[in-house]
Symmetry: C2
Subunit: 553 residues, 2 copies
Amino acid sequence: MKHMKWWGWGEEGISFRHDDKPAFAAFVKAVIDIDVARAPASMPDLDSFPIPSSFVPRELRESLQAVVGAGNLKDDPLERVVHAYGKGLRDLVRIRRGDMGRLPDLVVYPSSESEVAGIVKAALSANAVVIPFGGGTNISRSLEAPRHERRPVISIDMGRMSSVLEIDEVSRLARVQAGALGPDVERHLNEKSWTLGHFPDSFNHSTLGGWIATRSCGMQSDKYGDIADLTRAVRVVTPTGVLVTRPVPSASTGPSVREMILGSEGRLGIITEATVHIHRVPQKRQIYGYLFPDWSRGLRAMTAIAESDASPSVTRVSDANETRFYFATKKHETLAGRAKTAISKFYLERIKRFDVHRMCLSFIGYEGSEEHVKIQKRLVDDIVGRHGGFCVGTEPGELYDQKKFDTPYIRDFLLDRGALADVSETSAPWSQLEYLYDGVMSRASKAFAQIGVRGYIMCHLAHSYHSGACLYFTFAFRPSDDNHSLEQYDVIKSAIQQGFIDLGGTLSHHHAVGLEHAAWLGQDISPVGVTMIRSLLDGVDPGHNFNPGKIVG
Amino acid sequence: MKHMKWWGWGEEGISFRHDDKPAFAAFVKAVIDIDVARAPASMPDLDSFPIPSSFVPRELRESLQAVVGAGNLKDDPLERVVHAYGKGLRDLVRIRRGDMGRLPDLVVYPSSESEVAGIVKAALSANAVVIPFGGGTNISRSLEAPRHERRPVISIDMGRMSSVLEIDEVSRLARVQAGALGPDVERHLNEKSWTLGHFPDSFNHSTLGGWIATRSCGMQSDKYGDIADLTRAVRVVTPTGVLVTRPVPSASTGPSVREMILGSEGRLGIITEATVHIHRVPQKRQIYGYLFPDWSRGLRAMTAIAESDASPSVTRVSDANETRFYFATKKHETLAGRAKTAISKFYLERIKRFDVHRMCLSFIGYEGSEEHVKIQKRLVDDIVGRHGGFCVGTEPGELYDQKKFDTPYIRDFLLDRGALADVSETSAPWSQLEYLYDGVMSRASKAFAQIGVRGYIMCHLAHSYHSGACLYFTFAFRPSDDNHSLEQYDVIKSAIQQGFIDLGGTLSHHHAVGLEHAAWLGQDISPVGVTMIRSLLDGVDPGHNFNPGKIVG
């Protein structure tokens, strides 16, 4: 089983490079005072860290071995470290320091639902803790065991359960095992001209089970729906047996147990498979770039598009800061490209009279038949035009489409050079978005000032719904005190999160609760809401054996 | 507060009439052997029934009176009887016999959330049972107290809380009190050119709170979504305080407490208000009639429409039996109308070579701009044509649209004349629909034979989703033994419900669980699913004071 780097995102050997992006170094120097030419910190050697020994009672180990076979039980340091955390900024900072928290004692790799059931049975008999592990991309601290957990901790890696089991071509449904990574799912489906259409930033390294357990959302979710919409049925090994729901399109049996599993973060059981919507690969799929004169008009255009008869597959608009970032990551241009850029600049500044420091880049995607795409784009172009924007063709959109999964590599590149960068996202009604945005930006500025750093924060709107949208913030700064970098990070992150809550947003649009956002849960869904979730979790798992501490303590 | 007839559907003075429908009498005689000319049973006098006296401890009555005022506490027989049951066939049969079950002791009419909270507090102090009551249209026995309940039973009628509190025109959201009836909601919204777009058959007599508590679905839900999609936020008085969720478009905090309230049937608390999607009244709204040569081709056309770039607001196709029923309820025609009918018949039989006994009537609706409606209809017409069907214009659709809320009056008309008629609906994946339909029809036939009656069962597909649709069955028969009519009804109804479960459907698409469907819950969502629901309900309401016995016992 191949895992991501224990100390960073993605595969060994793949990293972000800046030397082919002429504007990048100056931009980073200007906004967060980082010299990208500086030699990156060298990665520590895992062997140099003290790894507490693994403790698994003999009887439990034997039971587990009987279930999955000796070859599918692992307790070497690398396996345990890889399964200790997700890939949040906090996780990477901690792990690079050798602060691994409470490592799992054992990693088990089941190959079937009955093996998962066997693992759960053995674990419950021994009063052990089980934590499901998909691709390990979580950034909300949903994967770590409680630091002072005294019971044996078992990480259940679902990686061997990665098959597309069945395709119902008439109903446009596929039955897929929970451990299937994004590329596994798409490859199998694409072979038969189908697609799931779920493309979160983590796509290459995250799994179907993980998406469901954290209520994930993908880039084309405007068309395909988020994972909550896509997931028609689940099978879950719970403390009291296997939950099996039916792949019906809609049902009035409430409270819905299918919905209880969405976002349950392993606390109600181990998801083993799901039946999900699939779609025919569309005849045409295009993402166009648009420019708006400013953020307000970009937001208002998105509000209008969501009310119109158009139904684009992607709606996204960056604020001025993120637009600057986008242009700062452009590659070296050919002579022809440079000429084109000069002409574009002239057009923007002299003809359209755009202020290039305020303008906002937007991406809008269309899918369907040739004709459908044409009709949809015409409807959208009209709305964009009424809000002072215009289409800049498919080139920026294609670039975005190619590079969309690379952002976490930039985060690691910056971390290697001493800067902390992270994301925080929310959703709110259309009427609140600009107010929320202004408030969060101002709180972030104050927080940067408080810790005495020059920080940068940028934002885009993504995922339009009937009544609102997601605002996705990315921030970065160079800590003024490397010995307290996480404390400084907490000041920024908390200011942003508290801003979401105070200004009408939710604590997270698609990154779940985990431990990272749990402090805001009561303010988001009210204390009674927390009580309701606790009633459900405690009722199903009275011993707190399933990923204890997440969502509610 | 105006209520429906205690012994039937709708308003006093409104009923179905057959004398303007020339084909109706012969049709009913042929299919269920009922002579519509026969004098209907006379309605019993409520005073002739023994009404057990109301028992409310003095302290509880005084507390409730302090909360809502003496004028808003009712315990006269009519009030108690009206709040005893919903309007299922079983309810009407029982109430007409004087079998009122466990009548509520008291009906209270709060005017605000704080009054609801006061009622709940007083009720919990006295260990009383509370049952929320919206319009009383429920057909799944979600409104009745357990027959042997020894604690005081209080029905909380939400009728005074019927306002649209706030419209957010930018976010296209409205905050509406739970007791608002369908027409209340639409009237207030329409005044400002908005619509909720939720039109269940019960629309005229059901409430927003009731829709949420039973996961209701409306006729145009293909476009507007069902109530689960429409409801962005809820406020609910629970045993432990007021649950307040935020009207955000999407959130990854799971398990979602908003979703737990959907379909909770009063077991988690009393819904006081919700924030719901609203839409601008569309420029154009049209429902077209279509004819298909047979049911199979009608189903396949709907499957294809759901995959296409078209997104109609209504998709519906009746089987041959329901198509016959539809034509049997047509009114007297003018001479011109009769000529047109003769020409249509000639066209159908001679030109299109349709077998009029197998053909299926369909309704497909479109909403949006003039242009959007035109494009959508063209896409749909192509698909219909490829499946052997054709458009028959807007006339049948307009008639359907006008008459859509009248079906329950026909049920009462038949009941007055000795026939039992009821509905049962499910949803299933596209690939299962024809198989499920065939199986249910054959089980119903066997069940009719078993009780020795000539029964009729008909069906339509409604509510298309990506992966499947709802099949809605209506059945009627004249019991062969009037002393055991409900037992005979149970034979038919159970055969149909068991068919749903055995053949891949869910126990109900939009009529909730209540007591009526509870027997099938474990087979639908697996025994573990039942355990999960029970954990939640017992955790939130350990004393079983909130509508006890519904969903799970």
